[in-house]
């Protein structure tokens, strides 16, 4: 099921040197191979059991995510729809989490699907990260409009993404993009960030 770790390549393998050119204005990096599971839960009576497995409450408000550390280490649960969530966990945990979540759901109406290979993860931070995203994303990412814990599914440079706001004030974001769109989006981000390469942090 899980590919051989020694031979598998992430969608953005080999992009690190181009990403580091954007520092220090934007620190861009791929976090490959995260365990990702789609959780469908129509029967909310099982939400508590699912929360216990993850160690994190399921986000109730649309367009938010919750994070924390549970029995399976650091976990993030993003709201994708009224009965749909995306669980993000450390690489290699997909099988364990899949069976644990299935057990929590029991025979009620719901589903758990391993979608780890569907998307790859990009982390953006730095003083110009928000400006860079604004080049191609219509969502207002100012802390007053998108506080910590915001999770939006939208388009970034016409590519479908899931955007998580980790730290609104410091400008720390996570972008989940489909594997087949990853190189396109990486090229776009590097190109859009070109103007910030001259950026130097102001002396205090």
């Amino acid at each position: 099921m899980t590919a051989d770790i020694a031979t598998r390549r992430s969608p953005l393998d080999g992009w690190t040197s181009r990403f580091t050119e954007l520092a220090p204005a934007v620190r861009l990096a791929e976090r490959p191979f995260l365990a990702q599971l789609t959780l469908r839960l129509t029967d909310t009576s099982r939400a508590a059991a699912v929360s216990r497995v993850l160690g994190v409450e399921l986000p109730e408000t649309p367009c938010t995510f919750s994070s924390g550390t549970g029995p399976h280490g650091p976990v993030e649960v993003a709201w994708l729809g009224p009965d749909e969530y995306l669980v993000l966990a450390q690489p290699g945990l997909q099988r364990t989490l899949e069976s644990a979540l299935r057990e929590a759901i029991g025979d009620t109406h719901g589903a758990v699907v391993d979608v780890s290979a569907q998307r790859t993860t990009l982390t953006l931070s730095g003083p110009r990260a928000r400006d860079l995203l604004a080049h191609g994303c219509a969502i207002d990412l100012h802390p007053s409009a998108s506080p910590i814990g915001t999770c939006v599914q939208t388009l970034l440079a016409q590519a479908g993404i899931i955007l998580l706001v980790r730290d609104a004030d410091a400008g720390e974001f996570v972008v989940l993009v489909r594997a087949s769109f990853a190189t396109y989006l990486a090229a776009w981000l590097v190109d859009a960030g070109m103007e910030y390469r001259e950026y130097r942090e102001q002396p205090v």
Binding site: G81, Q153, T154, L155
Partner: protein, 92 residues
Amino acid sequence: MQLIPCPWCGPREEVEFHYGGQAHVAYPAESAALSDEEWAKFVFFRDNPRGPFAERWSHAAGCRRWFNAVRDTRSYELLAVYRPDQERPVTT
């Protein structure tokens, strides 16, 4: 760009949405008894009013949920959005 208020995600750009045609078109109760003409009417014929029109929309690039909207076809103004399980709200 026009903003469409998704019932779940809030106002988003129009490009994130997909149009789904007229809303509240009920599937025929006794489909086996329908004549070809009645079938054609159900499958192909839709209202085309000048003014408020209840339509189906899908937030394709967002939460991927279907919802209904009442849109004024003269001004493109969205008068109301509501979830599929809700009744069509009264709009003026």
